[in-house]
């Protein structure tokens, strides 16, 4: 049997597109962990709330782009409030307390969404519906747009971290919290801002991905599970590593599905996770620890 080049190219496109969405979800997660040592189990629900906010704004304004911007802002504010009310008082305590707190928040938000919006899945209409021929498939331009926008958001954030004044505050706080505070950086404010940025990124991915699945109260679950794998494989708290790991894992699953059935292909990411934890627990995409 020859090598199915057409399928390999299709799966490369799929892997990169899925990888970029996953990278956007995982970036927020890894950022929050990197700076606050908080494993945010409510990240999937912020993704879901972003999508619901998109539905509401789209229904009232009719503009997808406005829905995207407002959803990001509202969920970022909600994230800030969440951090101030529930996580800030737990700073410095056993990490288990923050895990339990965010897990509790995730249950509250899930059930809130079900109560508020009901069991019927909602639709976000994509801003355009064109398609192009990719071998035997018609491939939607919108998927490429999602990948490009995700890349742009992550890239913009990377530039902000690298060159922006407040980005430098964030990096300083990540490196040494006590020293940053001694240098006059308002560490609690940085924590809140980072949580808000992470929440906003989750919301952006929720709105962007919404048109492909329909919006429902459980839509964050599948993504956040994969995002956790990505964060571990990419190196906890390492933004660049998470992006690379997201693309790597998505490509791996996409290629695996050429030769094995989908249920087995999904296992590929878990195998990578286990191997990473066994042989390189600091993550695949970080410099070798000395």
């Amino acid at each position: 049997m020859g090598i199915p080049w057409d399928l390999i190219i299709i799966q490369t496109v799929n892997g990169v597109v899925t990888g970029m969405i996953l990278a956007l979800v995982a970036s927020g997660l890894t950022l929050i962990f990197g700076i606050m040592d908080v494993v945010n189990f409510a990240h999937g629900e912020l993704f879901m709330l972003g999508a619901y906010m998109g539905v509401v704004v789209l229904a009232t304004s009719g503009s997808f782009w406005l829905a995207l911007v407002i959803a990001v802002l509202v969920v970022a504010l909600l994230g800030a409030a969440m951090q101030i009310v529930t996580l800030r008082p737990l700073l410095g305590r056993d990490p288990l307390t923050t895990i339990l707190a965010t897990f509790g928040i995730s249950l509250v938000l899930q059930n809130y969404a079900l109560w508020q919006f009901g069991p019927v899945a909602r639709k976000i209409q994509e801003p355009f519906t064109g398609r192009f021929n990719l071998f035997y498939l018609e491939y939607p331009y919108y998927r490429l747009l999602i990948a490009a926008l995700s890349g742009a958001i992550i890239g913009g954030f990377w530039l902000f971290l690298k060159y922006g004044k407040y980005g430098i505050w964030i990096r300083a706080t990540t490196q040494d919290r006590v020293m940053a505070q001694a240098m006059g950086i308002p560490v609690p404010l940085v924590h809140t801002a980072v949580f808000a940025i992470g929440a906003g990124m989750a919301a952006a991915s929720g709105v962007l991905f919404g048109p492909l699945v329909g919006v429902n109260h459980m839509m964050g679950l599948d993504w956040v599970l994969k995002a956790f794998i990505v964060v571990v494989v990419g190196g906890m708290g390492n933004l660049g590593g998470s992006v690379l790991a997201a693309i790597f894992i998505s490509l791996l699953e996409a290629y695996a599905s050429i030769w094995v059935n989908p249920s087995q292909a999904v296992i590929a990411s878990f195998i990578v996770l286990i191997l990473t934890l066994l042989f390189r627990p600091t993550g695949l995409f970080v410099p070798t620890p000395k």
């Binding site: 799966q11 969405i21 019927v120 899945a121 909602r122 699945v213 429902n216 679950l221 059935n261 249920s263």
Partner: protein
């Protein structure tokens, strides 16, 4: 450190004194006592008559919660209607609701609680097939009748059947018998994409058998794990020389495949058909125009075309729609989960009346009454006539083949109950 002190001050400034503790305690006790003085709604109508306790297990949280909520609406509709019209055998019905959290282990634990602590007389419900299968042995162990509300896994009434479990609605083999001739008319070669868990697998097998039996062929199958958000990498592999794509998905997975198969052009390139759960009324808003032209089969569709243009169906539809509006502001039409739970409860009521059921001690009499039960179209069974077969406790009913046109299902063909019969494959222990 100043921050730390400030937060400690913020969070620990409230002092609990003995006086405040006693004050709050007394207020709570008073509030609880006041609620206990208010009688349950059925007590006013039935006086001292002892209520039948009927349990219902539904996924009210977790992955299956959206469907579980509508399923519960069906059960509550039936119970309210029964209690308003004199109860069963002159006694009211008290519903004991349990949330299985969409997890088999929790479902089993909650079922044991219903049977041991709540001491229910019978059970109506169950939504996810893996949970129904996990709980069935518990009903058998405690010898309590279990009427399935939604679970469609074929083995519930075939290889894993038991004496205490009844399914008063259809299952995949009978739907496949009803639908396969139409499918083969649409195209000879089919590719089946299915949700890769118990229900999806058994349904896929049933359709593959029937399509082959009526002269069709299966070009390939693709099982996609339950809850997969991005199916595109798996759907991209579906290609080749076949006529139709047949989907077996429900809930949010139904929305996902409907959207993503359309986006890849699969629903344009091939005939697009599948289990009616894909285009359930609760899924259609999220599918929009992408589900146009889909051909499906379902036991219930919320339309008033013949033979569903009956006063009984109108009554059911209006009540269900009003109740669904309370849990979802978009006011969805009732789906098959509302219908089958409503009718499952009414099947139990009929069996209880026929057997003069008094309680658990009459379980054998209730089983005898339910075996071979004829259910006639009317207010109790707005979907149509049904027969609950004695040999495997599986019901047979008419099926609707429909097409989505203008965002609504339209009946293409009504398949009579007699044409959905599939031989029994159950041996009770």
């Amino acid at each position: 450190m100043a921050d730390r002190e400030a937060f400690d001050d913020l969070w620990y400034r409230g002092k609990v004194t003995r006086r405040t503790l006693i004050g709050y305690g007394a207020a709570t006790a008073g509030a609880l006592g006041a609620t206990m003085l208010v009688p349950a709604p059925w007590q006013a109508a039935f006086g001292q008559a002892k209520a039948y306790k009927i349990g219902t297990t539904q996924p009210l949280s977790g992955a299956g919660a959206a469907g579980g909520k509508t399923a519960l609406v069906g059960v509550q509709m039936a119970v309210d209607r029964i209690n308003k019209s004199g109860g069963v055998n002159g006694r009211p019905v008290e519903l004991v609701i349990a949330d299985d959290e969409s997890k088999p282990d929790v479902g089993r634990r909650k079922t044991e609680k219903l049977l041991v602590e709540d001491k229910v007389d019978a059970h109506v419900g169950g939504f996810l097939s893996n949970i129904c299968l996990a709980c069935m042995p518990v009903y058998e162990e405690y010898k309590i009748v279990n009427i399935i509300g939604v679970c469609l896994d074929t083995t519930i009434t075939t290889t894993k059947c038991n004496r205490y479990t009844f399914r008063p609605f259809d299952y995949a083999p009978s739907q496949a018998v009803a639908f396969a001739p139409q499918l083969v008319k649409m195209g000879k070669r089919w590719h089946i994409a299915y949700a890769d868990y118990s229900w999806g697998q058994s349904t896929k097998d049933a359709y593959a058998d029937q399509i082959k039996k009526v002269g069709g062929e299966i070009a390939g199958t693709t099982g996609i794990p339950l809850g997969t958000a991005d199916m595109t990498p798996f759907l991209s592999k579906i290609s080749g020389n076949f006529d139709g794509l047949f989907g077996i998905f429900f809930g949010k997975d139904g929305v996902t495949i409907g959207n993503q198969a359309f986006d890849l052009g699969l629903t344009k390139k091939y005939k697009w058909a599948g289990d009616g759960a894909i285009a359930e009324s609760t899924n259609i808003p999220a599918l929009g125009s992408k589900i146009e032209g889909f051909i499906g089969i379902n036991r219930y569709i919320p339309v008033f075309e013949p033979p569903l243009n009956t006063p009984a169906h109108k009554k059911f539809f209006d009540d269900a729609k009003a109740r669904l509006k309370q849990i979802d502001s978009s006011g969805p039409d009732p789906d098959r989960y509302v219908q089958s739970n409503y009718e499952a409860f009414n099947a139990l009521k009929l069996g209880m009346e026929k057997s003069k059921f008094r309680g658990r001690e009459d379980t054998d009499k209730l089983i005898a009454a339910l075996e071979g039960l004829e259910m006639k179209e009317g207010d109790d069974f707005p979907q149509g006539d049904k027969l609950l077969r004695k040999e495997d406790h599986q019901a047979f009913l008419r099926q609707f083949i429909f097409e989505i046109k203008g965002g609504k299902p339209k009946i293409v063909q009504v398949v009579d109950r007699e044409k959905t019969v599939f031989p029994p494959a159950c041996k009770f222990a």
